[in-house]
Structure formats: C-alpha cells, structure tokens
Subunit: 287 residues, 2 copies
C-alpha cells in the first residue's frame, strides 16, 4: 500500500509538487499558512489539515518546502508544529533551502520522536516542479532515501544521495553559489562591453560559440537584455542562500572572495528593489 | 590569386594556425623570437623572415599573435618592427589579447602607413587552433573583415564582427572575465562542500543535471579533482587578461565586484606558483 503523504508549504514549488503527488495517486494532506492555497489543492483531491501538527499526524511521509529558515522553524517548532505530530517510524523530508546545521538540528528532533529525516533540497525551478522533473540533493541515511524514493519519483527524476544529514543542503548552497556567480559574471561582462561602446548582443553571440556558455545564460540573458525580471527564482531567496553559504564558509574558516563579492552585490540590489524580481535583476546594481 | 600571408608569434596558438594556413595553400612567411620554432614551420613550407619588418614587407595580410602587450609592442614598434615594413593596402590582423586602447593605437599607426587593421582575438584554445575551428572576435571595418575572411577561414569557423577598432578586444576580455569567474565559482563551491565533509564528486554529479552546468566545467573539473594543471590556457595569461579588464573598468568608472575579487585571487595564485599552470590552478588559492 502507498504511504500517506503530507505536504507543508504551498508556494511556487510546493503547489506543483502537491499536484504531482495527487496525480500519482497518493493520499495527500496539505497545510499552508495562507489557507486559500490549500483550498485550491483540496479541489484536486487533497485533504486540508488545520495545523502543521495535524498534517504530520496524518502522514507516513511528511514533506516541507518553505521559503526561508524562520518559516521552516515556525512550521516545525511553533504552536501546533509538525514535530509534535510526527508519527513513529515516519519520515520527514525537508526540501527548503536552509543551513546544514539546521538540517542536523531537525534530524535530531526527529530521532527523539523515533522518526527519520532527510534534507532534500531541489533544483529545477518551477518548470521542473511542474513537469515532475526536479533533482533532489539528499542528506541522511541512504536506506531511508531508498525507502521513500517512490514518493519523490512523483515529483522528480533524480534523487542523488550526497552524504549524511545536512549534505543535501551543503551541495544545494554550493550550487546556488555557482549560479549566482555565473549570472553576476554575465552582467559584469555586459557592463564592461556596453560601457566600452559595444552592443550587449555581440557578447551574447560570441558566448554561444564558446567554452563560457552556461545553461543558466539561456534563461537569464534574455531577461537581462530586455530588463524585465518576472521572478522564476526570486533575488531575495538567492541572496538568502548566498548569506547562508557565507555563514557556512565563516564557520569553516574559509575565504570565498568571489562568493563574498556576490553576496554583497545581491544584497545591495535586494535592499534597493521595491519589487520582488528574479535574481537576474542583479543587473540593476549598475543603475 | 591568394594573398601572401605573414604570421608573427609561433606559440601554442600561432604554430597550429600557421600550419593550417600552409595546409590551405597560402604562401606564408613566419617570424618568431625563438628562431627554432620558425625553422619547424619551414619544414612544412613556410619562409622564415629575419625580422618582423621583413615578414611585414612580404605579406598582403600580416597576422600577429603574441602572449602579452609588451611582446606585441616590441614586435610592432621595436627595431626592425613590423609597422615599419607594412605594405600599402595590406591588412594587419592582431589575434593577441590586449587592451582595446592598444588596438586603437595600432589601428592609427597602420592608417599612417595606408594599411588597414583588425583586432581579432580568438577563442577555442589550442584544440580549436589545431582543428581550424577558432572563433574570431573582430574589431575594425566590416569590409576589411569581409576582404580577408578567406584567410581567417583557414584557421577558424566563425568571424564575428563586434564593432569598430578595439571592439574585438573588449568582447574577448569580457568573455575571459566570465570564464575566470565560472572556474572560480566552481572551486569556491568545491571548497565549501569539501570543508563541510561532502565529497567533491557529489557536487560535480549534481551540476551536470542543473542549470549551473557550464561548458568550461567539462574540461576544468577533472583537472581540479585530479589536482593536475598542465597548461591549456595558462593562469598567467588569464590573470593578465583580468588585469587588463580591470584597467578598462577603472577607466570607464565601472565597479566590477566579482571581477575584482577574481583578479585578486588569480593574482595571488600566480605569484605563489613556481610552475606555469593552467588557470584551473586557481584552486590552489586554498592550499
């Protein structure tokens, strides 16, 4: 019999993930701070829990995907939080992007309640979430991952075991560091050419024939050239991830000169943007 | 009739470019500071000039490809330099990577001698030079590029007109800024995961399934994981290009936070390396 599944956090990623779980035939209980979003899922067949605790109590596998650490902590440890409702022998899977240290703290709290934990942040964006083609970077016990892989398979195409608790988060933060720097490299290079009187499109043209081409440029270069930044991955979340990565580096006594420059650049744009743009809006740094 | 061609600078790039010109049936005169390398080309059918001036005097199209601005300036303006020998109506094509301002100075010197000039730095590396698949980024008059394109076609597959004199150099510097930052992003991300106890190979595995994948990683990641840095594109040249790009930014009153961090990081590794490694050796920053 299929395990019952719970999902907490119906944002840009959580909604299509929930829809795909229902499509795959899972019995799904959802909870979201803004109730209206849960009600939309109810129309597709989801049960709506009245609290994170109730969602946990109804689930063999409980997924959480929240936008930042405070939101995740509130859902887990707050009043009527999920940890208090966790079933013995159940598995909590967190797909938020948070610090590895927080992942390890959650793992310990699960162990106290005889439940298992996986940190399982994802890559693939809203497009991957909708198509069910997410890639999960997983930290925790390999056998727990093997056990719940059918559930993840409803939402993704790859489930890569990165190591013990927190390893999924570590790799996700490292990957976002690369993405943030790739996009910053592109906008700095575009500034250099346009300020020197060369058209931006000329650089893009050459990039496509060169070793410098990166997959993310296909998506972000058109946004940058057009100056429109509808959020696919919001800059505030990219900056949040960079800040967590820099904290992690600091704790490890590690210098990251380019990463540190990126964190400061994204921070500057975040604090000067009155809207909620995609992270390609780091191009606004020079406005 | 095919124009006579001269080529000055028989380094890692110049040698295969010269060989491809001979293969395409061009009458070729070469000059190189170290005579032995010119003699190797003579065995393939090249004439060997006794000075840059003589090479210029024998050529309708004269190519220069030197490793840095001082080497280029010596070849052009030094005693028996190429500029003094340039034929009226000939075209000087410089494929070195230098400042756009130097390209414009050479263009002016050519104009005084009734010759044309193109700055035409290349991308594709030694592999592209050997296969005749270089991409040329060209600054100067479009009609001059059209006129000499058959000569470039012996060495490359694309000849992209970037704008007026110096525009080729500007785009090349911007592209190398992107490459340098992509590789630095990779090594910073690898430091972050390995210092956190996660294997480097795990990050590489995830990268390949993600938007963060970049063409340069396919070549540099194996070097970084193995810790062996046989020079494909030497770090000292990448640092030279970053330093020129930072000069250009400074002149334009332009802040490049990540580029500046990269220039400093590559500089540190350059000054502490006793060998001549590939630029992937920026990974040594943390040793």
């Amino acid at each position: 019999m299929k395990p019952s599944v719970g999902l907490i956090g119906l944002g840009l990623m959580g909604r299509p993930m929930a829809a795909n779980l229902l499509k795959a035939g899972y019995s799904l209980t959802v909870w979201n701070r803004t109730r209206a979003r849960a009600d939309e899922l109810a129309k597709l067949g989801a049960k709506v829990a009245s609290s994170p605790r109730e969602a946990a109590a109804s689930s063999d596998v409980l997924l959480t995907i929240l936008s930042d650490p405070p939101a995740l902590e509130a859902v887990l440890w707050g009043s009527d939080g999920a940890l208090a409702g966790l079933r013995k022998g159940s598995v909590l899977v967190d797909s938020s992007t948070v610090a590895p240290e927080l992942a390890r703290r959650i793992a310990a709290a699960c162990a106290e309640r005889s439940a298992d934990f996986l940190d399982a942040p994802v890559t693939g964006g809203t497009w991957g979430a909708e198509k069910g083609e997410l890639v999960f970077m997983v930290g925790g016990k390999k056998e727990v991952l093997d056990h719940i892989e059918p559930v993840l398979a409803a939402m993704g195409k790859r489930f890569l075991h990165m190591g013990g608790h927190g390893a999924g988060q570590t790799v996700k933060l490292a990957m976002n560091l690369i993405l943030a720097l790739e996009v910053q490299a592109l906008v700095e290079a575009l500034q250099l050419v346009t300020r020197s009187g060369v058209e931006a499109a000329r650089l893009i043209e050459v990039l496509q024939s060169s070793m410098a081409r990166a997959a993310v440029f296909d998506v972000k270069a058109p946004m940058i050239l057009a100056g429109t930044f509808a959020p696919s991955f919001p800059l505030r979340l990219m900056h949040k991830d960079l800040a967590i990565a820099m904290d992690l580096a600091r704790q490890a006594g590690l210098q990251l000169p380019a990463g540190s420059a990126a964190e400061q650049t994204y921070r500057a744009v975040r604090s000067s943007s009155s809207d909620d743009p995609d992270y390609a809006a780091v191009a606004r740094f020079w406005q």
